[in-house]
């Protein structure tokens, strides 16, 4: 629906397309109007989610009174225009274009991965090009293997979709066009980075030039069964389709015309708990464990329905429900709502993409929430949005997007939030209590403690002055902060009084759904059953616990996404064992299927009473989303009382930051073959000096009771004394890491 390129003046216009009178509004292109009304105009290079490329000239139309042919993808329709989309001359033109596309195109459809879903194949048939009539002297064009994707230049038709996606959507900016007439080709300018986000570029390739290396030459496209689902890794819940043959997932695709999928979603699909049978003995042990248990501890890798089952068990059996990440998020959002007066947050990804100014705080964005990063990148590319990135560590991957990096001391988020809000709300009329809280702040002291210069914030607020469309992205550093609730309240002022689109990015998994469905407790008591968390009795979807559970691609259910939607997931792979619902049934909480809980999700938290099988899952011809349903924002009681800012407890010396590498989120992504990451403690040279560590040295340290035995690596592109500590490779115990993401590093060297 590319709103981004339409200055929607909203003036009503009437156009005639092929004799059909159509009412529309000014600002839309002819192609957009045609697609909206199901009028077919053939295209080769048009991709809805990026700006028109105009490379193929297939979309030409004739407009009465205008000489020549017009590109319908770029031309905005004017009032009273009479448009013809097809006649002899246009057909001839398109046929000639197809003839030129077929010049020297290798006749190897038999082995090409795209065969069966190839735009070139389809259009060649459509326009009746039966033979290759022209030729050119061919050149040596070797196939290139770029890691996640492979590029075959001789198949490439130079539509530039991949380049646009790489720049406008994913923002890795790796792909460029090398111009040179017939010798033009796509080049990867950053092959050493091996971006998994290039999978998104491969997805939009209309021919077999750019394909996933792991999928290449493994099967034919038409033999795969397509199972629509949602990605369970980060909180994004992006649309995805598993493509399955013989009970094996061959690849993951998406509705690439309208949506995006990061590398983890695209390549992290083979984490199923396979070969499980119903183990009656283990099951009876599980029932016993549940009967003796006082608490249930679970990770965020569960569906809404499973969360509902646990909540129902809590109501009937009185268990304590523990889920640290979700609990922190729940508390944060409760505090947030007490200022805004509404549940949830105001923003959405679409609004971020339309913003002119975006502030990101408390998240290593590229690693935590790729879909948010993509939308910020869109705003940056389409609207030249100013992006202020506030974090203790600079991120090289965001350097192309971020216009202002504001570094603050780890631990000082509360002060930073207060500084930011008081600067941005200077000229805004506020209720007395709030105003006096902001006026009473000791700006100088806060600024000194947090290391955020007043002039930096001034620069930020100056850049806001002439603009509208502000977004604030809040990340998971803040949720586990000791002063999280105060921070939530302060930042919520921006939504209420400065009209910011705020997005509080949920922690990985379905933490948002859990936080809305379950009444969570803070600490476990007594005998504990763990679900994807190590405990006295462990249910595990990794297959290493006391009873096996289905992984997310083996069960049906819904997920709550950071875009505030409830979206359905379907079963991609079979599962032969017991599920959580079987345990609940044995304990007397009876529903036949897990999805029977879908309509029972709490309506007082914004869910709707819709049966699972009635949830839609598609995009219409112009890209409007019909996936599941959007959550409603519910009224909440307002309590705008603020406490005084606490003394900032800074970290001295070496600090580690719990942060997974891009494309890794949990033990489930760690299990995937295609996503290969080596887990090191990565720090700067400065960090090495501060800790007296050598590159390649093995050290042992403990965080939240989880023992890490890691090799230290120096990354010369990093600065400062904070090192990145991945947690995804720790199996189920990764879910135990629940405290503030920064922590002091107390280590000992291995073997001493």
């Amino acid at each position: 629906m590319s709103q981004h390129n339409s200055i929607n003046k909203g003036k009503a216009i009437t156009v005639t397309i092929d004799g059909q009178k159509i009412q529309s509004t000014f600002g839309k292109t002819i192609l957009e109007i045609a697609r909206e009304h199901e009028v077919y105009i053939p295209t080769m290079c048009y991709l809805t989610k990026v700006q028109p490329i105009g490379a193929c000239r297939m979309c030409v139309v004739e407009v009465e009174g205008v000489e020549g042919m017009i590109l319908s993808c770029q031309e905005k329709a004017t009032d009273g225009a009479v448009i013809r989309t097809n006649n002899q001359a246009l057909h001839q033109e398109r046929q000639n274009i197809m003839k030129l596309y077929n010049v020297n195109h290798p006749l190897e459809c038999g082995v090409c991965d795209k065969s069966g879903e190839c735009d070139l194949q389809n259009k060649t048939m459509e326009f009746g090009v039966a033979e290759q009539a022209f030729t050119a002297r061919d050149q040596h064009r070797p196939i290139e293997n770029w890691g996640y994707v492979s590029y075959d230049p001789s198949l490439c038709i130079m539509c530039e979709k991949c380049v646009r996606v790489s720049t406008e959507i994913t923002g890795d900016e790796a792909l460029k066009v090398k111009f040179g007439g017939y010798g033009s080709t796509i080049v990867n300018t950053k092959p050493e980075q091996n971006y998994a986000s290039l999978g998104e570029a491969a997805a939009v390739c209309p021919v077999g030039a750019l394909v996933d290396t792991s999928f290449k030459y493994t099967t034919n496209a038409w033999e795969l069964e397509k199972i629509p689902s949602a990605c369970p890794h980060c909180g994004g819940g992006c649309q995805m389709t598993y493509e399955v043959k013989n009970n094996k997932i061959y690849r993951v695709t998406n509705a690439y015309e309208f949506t995006n999928l990061c590398g983890a979603g695209r390549y992290g699909f083979d984490y199923a708990n396979e070969g499980v049978t119903q183990d009656k003995e283990a099951f009876s042990h599980a029932i016993e464990a549940f009967q003796t248990a006082k608490s249930i501890h679970f990770s965020s890798q569960i569906s809404n329905e499973e969360a509902m089952i646990l909540q129902t068990l809590k109501q009937t059996k009185g268990y304590r429900l523990i889920s640290h990440e979700a609990r922190a998020y729940q508390k944060f959002m409760d505090a947030y709502s007490s200022v805004t007066g509404k549940s949830l947050y105001s923003g959405s990804l679409e609004e971020i993409a339309q913003s002119r100014v975006i502030i990101v705080m408390g998240s290593r964005l590229n690693d935590d929430a790729p879909s948010v990063k993509y939308h910020i990148n869109m705003a940056s590319k389409w609207h030249r949005a100013r992006v202020a990135y506030m974090h203790p560590i600079e991120d090289r991957e965001l350097s192309g997007i971020v216009t202002q990096f504001i570094k603050y001391e780890a631990g000082s988020e509360e002060g930073v939030a207060a500084l930011l809000v008081s600067e941005l709300l200077q000229a805004v009329e506020l209720p007395k209590g709030v105003r006096s809280f902001l006026d009473d702040l000791d700006i100088g002291n806060l600024s000194a403690e947090s290391n955020v210069g007043e002039e930096e914030l001034e620069m930020l607020s100056n850049s806001l002055q002439k603009k509208s469309g502000f977004s604030l992205v809040i990340g998971s550093d803040l949720y586990a902060h000791p002063q999280a609730e105060q921070i939530a309240k302060i930042l919520a002022l921006l939504e209420t009084f400065a009209d910011f689109n705020v997005v509080c990015v949920p922690p990985a998994g379905n933490a948002m759904g859990i936080s809305l469905i379950c009444d969570l407790d803070d600490e476990a008591e007594g005998y504990t059953v763990g679900y994807n968390v190590p405990a006295d009795f462990t249910l595990s979807a990794l297959g290493d616990g006391d009873l096996d559970m289905p992984a997310m691609n083996q069960q049906e259910g819904t997920l709550t996404t950071l875009n505030k939607r409830v979206v359905p997931m379907h079963v991609a792979l079979p599962y032969g064992g017991y599920t959580l619902n079987d345990i609940a049934n044995a304990l007397g909480v009876v529903e036949e299927y897990t999805i029977d809980y879908t309509p029972l999700l709490p309506q007082e938290r914004g869910f709707q009473s819709v049966a699972f099988d009635d949830l839609p899952d598609y995009f219409d011809s112009v890209g409007r989303e019909y996936r599941g349903y959007p959550l409603r924002r519910i009224k909440a009681s307002v309590d705008r009382k603020f406490e005084e800012i606490t003394e900032i407890d800074g970290f001295d010396g070496a600090v580690v930051y719990q942060c997974n590498p891009t494309e890794q989120f949990s033990a489930f992504t760690a299990k995937c073959d295609a996503l290969k990451s080596e887990s090191f403690l990565v720090g700067s040279e400065q960090f090495a000096t501060a800790t007296k560590l050598q590159d390649g040295e093995q050290i042992i340290y403990t965080i939240d009771g989880v023992v890490f035995d890691r090799v230290f690596k120096i990354d010369t592109s990093m600065k400062g004394t904070i090192a990145l500590n991945p947690t995804y490779d720790k199996g189920l115990s990764g879910a135990l890491l629940s405290s503030y993401r920064f922590s002091r590093l107390d280590f000992k060297r291995a073997g001493r």
Binding site: G110, D138, Y217, T218, T219
Partner: protein, 207 residues
């Protein structure tokens, strides 16, 4: 010979020849006479003589009609659809199969299974290819659809084996690489038409 003869369904008017089989005996006396006549005529020795002649020929003149199966086999029609053969390229010795999967797709009894992968030379490679001969109905569609004439029906019509797998492994169906000179171009179902040369057009890549 035209097809008209076959299309004529009117049996009564066709030129059947009736053999002269004489008149069969009707009464008991006639039957007795026939038996007595045959007994004294010595026709028995005519038959024995024929056998003797054939025996002498077989033993001393090396002229025997019996085919000593399984040591000897009759030649069969090139169009006969027996156990499949996978052919190789004569120049390189590499197998012809490009792994397009059409045979797997067209197989009406779903007996062909194949797996392919991206090999280190960045080409498509067949990593697994099996035909379940317990299900194969030898319809020949696979050979017909194969764009490379890689899978053809061979001449091995004896489908008795201790294990079905004895036939169905890709390597067993491939022509042995040391006997490439014996590989015969298949003339049967799915083969290149006799006038293929006339239909070939010059590709536009010639310059």
């Amino acid at each position: 010979m035209g097809l008209e003869q076959f299309k004529n369904r009117n049996v009564g008017t066709q030129n059947y020849k009736t053999l002269d089989v004489g008149v069969s005996p009707q009464t008991g006396m006639e039957r007795f006479k026939q038996v007595a006549k045959r007994t004294v005529k010595g026709e028995l020795f005519v038959g024995l003589g024929v056998v003797m002649k054939a025996m002498v020929k077989a033993l001393f003149a090396d002229d025997m009609h019996t085919v000593k199966y399984p040591f000897e086999k009759m030649p069969i029609s090139p169009r006969y659809r027996a156990i499949h053969d996978m052919l190789r390229l004569l120049e390189s010795g590499h197998y012809r199969c490009i792994g397009c999967g059409l045979c797997e797709k067209i197989c009406i009894s779903n007996c062909i299974t194949m797996d392919t992968r991206y090999d280190e030379n960045q080409r498509k490679e067949v990593s697994e290819y099996t035909i379940n001969f317990g299900r194969c109905i030898f319809c020949g569609y696979c050979a017909e659809v194969c764009p490379e004439l890689a899978i053809v029906h061979g001449q091995r019509y004896e489908t008795a084996s201790e294990q079905r797998a004895s036939f169905s492994i890709f390597e067993d169906m491939l022509s042995p690489v040391d006997q490439l000179n014996l590989q015969q171009e298949y003339q049967g179902f799915g083969a290149v038409s006799p006038n293929a040369d006339e239909n070939i057009k010059q590709t536009p890549l010639a310059y």
